[in-house]
Amino acid sequence: MSPLAIMSTLIDRELRTAARTRSYYLLGLAVGAVLLGLTLGGGGAATGYIPAVVDLLLPLEILVPVVAVAIGYRAIPSDLDRGEVAMLDTYAVSPSAYVGAVYVGRAAVLSAIIGGALVAVGVVVAVTAAPDTGVFATQSGVDSPILFGRFLVVTLLFGNAILAVVVLASVVVATTRTAIVAVIAAVLAVVVGGEAAILLGVLDGVLDEATLQVALGLIPNSAYRGIVFETVVGVLSAGESGYASPLVSAVGLLLWTLVPLAAAAGLLRWRLR
């Protein structure tokens, strides 16, 4: 079998497993309900996409990592516990292909859950957003579904980067029993620790304007927030930019996706040796 075919078979297996897992459906419903609740509670959805984004941005910074933990923490450890990884070895499946396939499968689940919930929010905005009064002529300004689409894309980038961190942390401890602790610790380290590092850097004066944009790009939450500010909310005011460097931040998020996956594959290879 070609590596591609193996990958495709493994991804297929992951997706079938996911499709059979009832708790994912529950999780999806819960996330959808929370986002819709926040959207309606925030009030911004009553008038447009950007206000809805503004309402959801900070809650999503917390919610997305939690969902990533729920989806990813036991994917590999449970395979390890059941000895399935060792069995895969007999089929000459490389650890990279295996980690990649597991990740793609889980990323698809995460994207479906978060993306689906955000699409639902988008539909709510599209259907309900309207000005308070029809006495005057109205328009939508720069507000548009495109901006909401950008928000969705960036949110998924962020979620999948955190998912990669989760996969790595779970490979580090390698047992289902301890995976949850390790994964939560890792996510906290990245989410809270990264932000704290930036804050400290600013407080101590280590980071100046030029390096701050780069530093922001290298911390997943900051990168996420920065891209949304720069390419979604910041569009409101012409000429006002510099919330972050979208390119650096996007590269940062991709690195947070690829580096942990590579590390996880390497670690697994070392374990199975």
Binding site: L38, G44, D132, V135, V142, V233
Partner: protein, 637 residues
């Protein structure tokens, strides 16, 4: 089916498109490329001329117009006059509330054969269409004048612009050049700076009219004499003195004399007005007037065909204790009208008058009565007077620059009712128990100042309208709504609203006013918002906004219209809800897109201590004791 790609390739390509192509495309598409088409001007929220109706009844081309689509504002804003629009676009508040202009349209005077008439009015033969401002050129210094100032006339066709400029002696400039100039409109702060001078003007205005009381006495009349004959015989510029007692009316004064009679009563026959004044510089002092007719309008009156003729007929021709028509510089002083079924004092086309220490009472039900003082086309000083049980305490129509101060109004429909009147000062009045409103401004006037008034137990304490006004140092208690902020581009500062159902309420979709340093205390809801964007009110004191369970105060934004935040001062339980991270996360960035939000108010910097301690104390007394508890003439500030 050779031309099909292998299935795997198709799937791969689709996935690639989904995961890479579409996301990248989303960031590549510019979001503000599609400019919306212009809308009919009537559909915009129009700003810039005191009473649009006056203009609407006129030629629509007389004022060049602008409409702006802002990047983060749902309503299309219309402006009368280019300078109004340019001033607004430059305004930092506008930037903050609406964002930047996505597209600006101006009325296009190409193909309309424009000319400037002898009256400096801009005339056209065709109705101007709309054109994008960035593509247009503009003729300035053409000599054309509009109610919004010197006209700046847009053309889409440069040759026509040049021709018009040559014809009128103006010059042609581009949109970019216009944008570099600075345009300013008088906002509320300018009106604030005017108030002191306006008070001083009123003082000298009153002093001049009061000199009419110094006229030499030519005759003293007793109750048995023929009063009308004595008045008719009195030489111009003298005083007719009345001995105490009752005199039959009605009487007419058609030349400049002074009528003085402390203790004298003039009793009308219940038909028409009791004293009619038709000459300039007449003074009436010290009389009691009874027997006023009960008609609030005169079926035989004629008022011409001006746009407001029906208003004049409806309000300006009723019976009155004293009716001055075409009588400039009238003085009415120390007059008592104990019971009128119609007006107390009516001034029609009689500018320059002074009404001081007048007392008017109407029937128990305001529907049976009319106005305490009505001034039509008659700028007047109305002071130290009292009106009870009338329809309106004071009703103004087109009486710019009137001063209404230190009066007391009880149990009327409206205490002070401004129609089509700009540049008015309403100061230091006290009012209680009006059915509809304390001070009610209608019809979009401009540059009004409402200062230092106390309103108690009224439906809507102070209801504003129009633009560029100044509302300050007012105290409203125990009312349904304290103060409305309908007047745009205005300054609302140092007011105290307490024990109202709603302290303040927004009323305009245009959020260009500054609302600051006001105290909101013990209202059911400190503030409510009607249709429109998020309003940002900075630096007010909202009782309970900052208290925390530890008893200390927190540094935080406050949203009075929010069901959680807005009830902090009434419900400690809601403070627990407000401390939730979810709630705070939702609220943290709310102010980021005010123009795209709706029906809400945010104070990003609420202050802990009341900003107006004296007025807070006064309104506390007003709340417990009503008008009886507060001094009759609030000290001037």
């Amino acid at each position: 089916m050779d031309w099909w790609l292998p299935r795997r390739w198709t799937v791969g390509l689709m996935l690639c498109l989904l995961v890479v192509g579409i996301p990248i495309a989303l960031f590549g598409i510019p979001v503000d490329s599609a400019a919306p088409e212009p809308v009919p001007f009537e559909d915009t929220r129009a700003i810039g001329v005191a009473s649009a109706e006056e203009v609407a009844a006129d030629d629509t081309a007389a004022i060049p117009r602008v409409q702006v689509f802002y990047s983060q504002y749902q309503y299309v804003i219309g402006y009368y006059g280019l300078s109004t629009a340019l001033a607004a676009i430059d305004e930092p508040t506008t930037r903050q509330q609406y964002g930047h202009p996505l597209v600006t349209y101006v009325t296009d005077y190409s193909n309309t054969a424009p000319s400037v008439g002898d009256d400096s009015r801009l005339d056209t033969e065709q109705v101007p269409a709309w054109t994008a401002a960035s593509d247009a050129v503009f003729v300035v210094d053409s000599g054309a004048q509009t109610p919004a100032g010197a006209a700046i006339v847009p053309f889409s066709d440069r040759d026509e612009a040049t021709a018009f400029a040559e014809q009128t002696g103006g010059r042609v400039v581009s949109w970019a050049t216009l944008g570099e100039q600075s345009f300013e409109t008088d906002d509320g702060a300018v009106v604030r700076d005017r108030v002191a001078a306006q008070r001083a003007d009123a003082d000298s205005w009153v002093a001049e009219r009061t000199e009419l009381l110094d006229r030499q006495r030519s005759v003293t009349v007793g109750p048995d004499d023929d009063l009308q004959a004595a008045i008719d015989d009195a030489p111009n510029g003298t005083t007719v003195a009345l001995a105490p007692g009752q005199y039959p009316g009605p009487i007419e004064i058609d030349h400049p004399i002074t009528l003085r009679g402390p203790g004298a009563t003039i009793a009308g026959d219940g038909e028409g007005s009791v004293i009619s004044v038709t000459a300039d510089r007449v003074a009436i002092q010290g009389l009691t007037i009874t027997g006023v007719g009960n008609q609030s309008r005169n079926p035989d009156a004629v008022a011409g065909d001006r746009w407001d003729a029906n208003i004049e007929l409806g309000y300006g021709h009723g019976d009155a204790a004293i009716a001055a028509t075409g009588a400039n510089d009238t003085l009415v002083a120390d007059v008592t009208v104990p019971d009128t079924p119609a007006n107390g004092v009516l001034l029609r086309r009689s500018p320059g008058g002074v009404v001081t220490n007048l007392s008017v009472a109407g029937p128990e039900d305001w529907r049976d009565g009319f106005m305490g003082v009505i001034a039509m086309y008659s700028p007047t000083v109305i002071q130290h007077s009292a009106v009870t049980d009338g329809r309106d305490g004071v009703y103004l129509h087109r009486s710019d620059g009137t001063i209404i101060r230190n009066n007391t109004f009880r149990e009327n429909r409206y205490g002070v009712h401004l129609m089509y009147s700009s540049g008015v000062l309403v100061a230091d009045n006290r009012m209680a128990g009006q059915s509809y409103g304390g001070i009610t401004v209608m019809t979009d006037p401009t540059r009004n100042a409402i200062v230092g008034n106390l309103v108690h137990n009224t439906s809507t304490g102070i209801s504003t309208s129009g633009s560029n006004s100044y509302l300050a140092h007012n105290g409203v208690t125990d009312s349904r709504i304290g103060i409305t902020t309908t007047a745009i581009n205005s300054l609302y500062e140092h007011n105290v609203v307490r024990h109202n159902e709603q302290g303040m309420r927004t009323g305009s979709v245009v959020a260009t006013s500054e609302v600051t340093a006001n105290d909101f205390i013990s209202n059911d809801r400190h503030a409510g918002a009607s249709a429109g964007p998020l309003r940002v009110w900075r630096g007010n004191h909202w009782e309970g906004a900052l208290t925390t369970p530890s008893g200390r105060t927190a540094d935080r934004a406050y949203m009075p219209t929010d069901p959680v935040d807005g009830q902090r001062h009434r419900s400690t339980t809601r403070r627990t809800v407000a401390a939730s991270p979810v709630y705070q996360g939702l609220r943290e960035l709310t102010g980021a897109s005010p123009g795209l939000r709706s029906g809400s108010i945010l104070d990003p910097g609420p202050v802990e201590t009341p900003q107006n301690p004296d007025l807070v104390e006064t309104t506390a007394t007003l709340h417990t004791d009503g008008l009886a508890g507060v001094p009759a003439a609030p000290s001037e500030r």
